[in-house]
Amino acid sequence: MLSAVDLAAIWLTLKLATVTTAILLIVGTPIAWWLAGTRSRFKVLIGALVALPLVLPPSVIGFYLLITLGPHGPVGQLTQWLGWGILPFTFAGLVVASALYSLPFVVQPLQQAFEAIGPRPLEVAATLRASPWDSFFTVVVPLAKPGFITAAILGFAHTVGEFGVVLMIGGNIPEKTRVVSVQIYDHVEALEYAEAHTLAGGMLLFSFLVLLALYSRKGRNAWT
């Protein structure tokens, strides 16, 4: 029912979403922690920058990334100088673009979770001899667990669902940058409606299940 090309696209999509989510949790946690705790006047600025992908058309993000990461862009020149080549139209380029595109979906739930915890549990931990790093991993992370799970689910799902940015920065190279959403586009272009139906239906089901999982979590007690 699924062709080898379709399976390759699904595999690539899952790989991209997994790598992107892992990177976002590592990069997004300190950003969210800083945003939750800071009184800096740059908080608003950084918060707005992080939220930009929520409102910008994916083609705009893709366009600027293409220029920045391209052979004449500043990042492109850096990656060439480092001997990494240029990122657009590679899997690595897709990861960078996806991470930027899905950043707010990871940072915002984490920030909300950290803000809900507040400074008090950290003060309590400090009076019980826990160093800041110690208390972050033994108090903040467990208390923010629901936030981490929400962030991971949203980051993963949103990366699976992207199309515009991928098309701009990744092109449409089988097994390298051709993800499911692009593959559906190709099927429709080629009037292969049956194949498009299979993949599109799968995406619909996947997205629905993800949201179902997310909302049923929110109804539950956060600690259990």
Binding site: P121, L128, R129, A130, T138
Partner: protein, 361 residues
């Protein structure tokens, strides 16, 4: 007490509209009450002692160890200070059971345990709660666990920020006996923030009175409360605390005699056995003065006392009279008219009639 046994603290912190500026020596033993109205800086002082107020400028020396010296850029972070802190509201880690909460601090302390976890659990009567999650505890139980958790780290200094404030009277009365046991059984200096005069009178040995971010008075509880030069905010509730011993029970009239230096008082029958120490408080407004030992009065508690000094009270109609009853200080709040009628002056011998006694147990 040698200088090294004490706690020397000097802090200055400013927020818009509030400046906290204190310089005081706290004793290295017993319970010191930090007393004052809300916004007086009690909690700020406690947080400065704990190192939770990073913006505070000043110095702190705890029994010879420097914990903070802003001039030399020294600041020992909270987690490196051997202290226990009990917060005003429940502060248990919600993701850990009672046992895990107790273990959290204890596991991070390397030195020997003069106060074992076992002792703390027994002292606070929480042995039956160890497997519970914090959300399944009552407010009083949570505070008892929080106190035990602080004690389990064998702190050299125990800081308590109104640990009873969030509790109703019933819960307060449930915890107070544990705090008294703490006071009697542990040799740790305790700083206890409170705005309840009765709590202070019941638990404290020393007192620091704070008002608008400054220290108004500090010293031994009895001497400090018997001072007349405190700001009006404190004199409207003026009174003394007297340490007594249960001396005798009168079975016929259901009365109990309490002896103290310089005399005794008789109160309604107490459950405590003869020989038990009992603190009570006498409000200045509950003492009246007579020139002679009045007969034909329903007031049974009359003590001969010498006038020491006279000071203004909270209203222009009243004055505060400090008396000495055989070594026990008393304060009477009488009208200015009575002062003139009775010709009250320092050195004069009078009879103090005590209308009511507030027992603190």
């Amino acid at each position: 007490m040698t200088a090294d046994e004490a706690i020397h603290a000097r802090f200055c912190v400013s927020w818009p509209g509030f400046t906290f500026d204190v310089d005081l020596d706290l004793p290295g033993h017993g319970v010191t009450a930090l007393f004052g109205h809300s916004g007086s800086g009690k909690t700020t002082l406690l947080r400065c002692l704990a190192g939770l107020e990073r913006r505070s400028i000043g110095s702190l020396r705890f029994k010879g160890e420097v914990w903070q010296d802003s001039e030399r850029g020294l600041f020992r972070p909270t987690h490196q200070r051997p202290l226990g802190y009990v917060f005003q509201e429940a502060s248990l880690f919600a993701h850990l059971s009672v046992q895990q909460n107790l273990d959290y601090g204890r596991k991070r302390v390397s030195h020997a345990h003069p106060v074992s976890l076992q002792h703390a659990v027994e002292l606070l009567g929480i042995g039956h709660l160890l497997d519970r999650m914090p959300e399944r505890l009552s407010g009083g139980e949570r505070q008892r666990v929080a106190i035990a958790r602080a004690l389990a780290t064998s702190p050299a200094l125990l800081l308590m920020d109104e640990p009873l404030a969030a509790l109703d009277l019933k819960r307060k009365n449930e915890i107070l006996p544990y705090l008294e046991r703490l006071h009697d059984e542990l040799d740790i200096p305790v700083c206890y923030v409170s705005h309840s005069p009765d709590e202070v009178a019941r638990l404290a040995d020393h007192i620091v009175l704070l008002s608008e971010g400054r220290v108004v008075a500090a010293g031994g509880l009895r001497e400090t409360l018997a001072r007349l030069d405190l700001p009006t905010a404190f004199t409207e509730d003026a009174g003394v605390v007297i340490e007594s011993v249960v001396a005798d029970h009168d079975q016929i009239y259901h009365l109990t005699r309490l002896d103290f230096a310089g005399g005794n008082v008789v109160v309604a029958r107490r459950p405590e056995p003869v020989g038990r120490r009992l603190r009570f408080r006498v409000h200045a407004r509950d003492i009246s003065l007579t020139l002679t030992r009045a007969e034909g009065t329903s007031i049974i508690n009359r003590l001969p006392a010498t006038v020491i000094e006279i000071a203004t009270a909270d209203t222009p109609a009243h004055v505060l009279v400090r008396l000495d009853a055989g070594g026990t200080p008393l304060i009477a709040r009488i009208t200015r008219r009575s002062l003139d009628h009775l010709e009250v002056a320092p050195g004069k011998l009078l009879w103090a009639q005590i209308k009511a006694v507030a027992l603190l147990a």
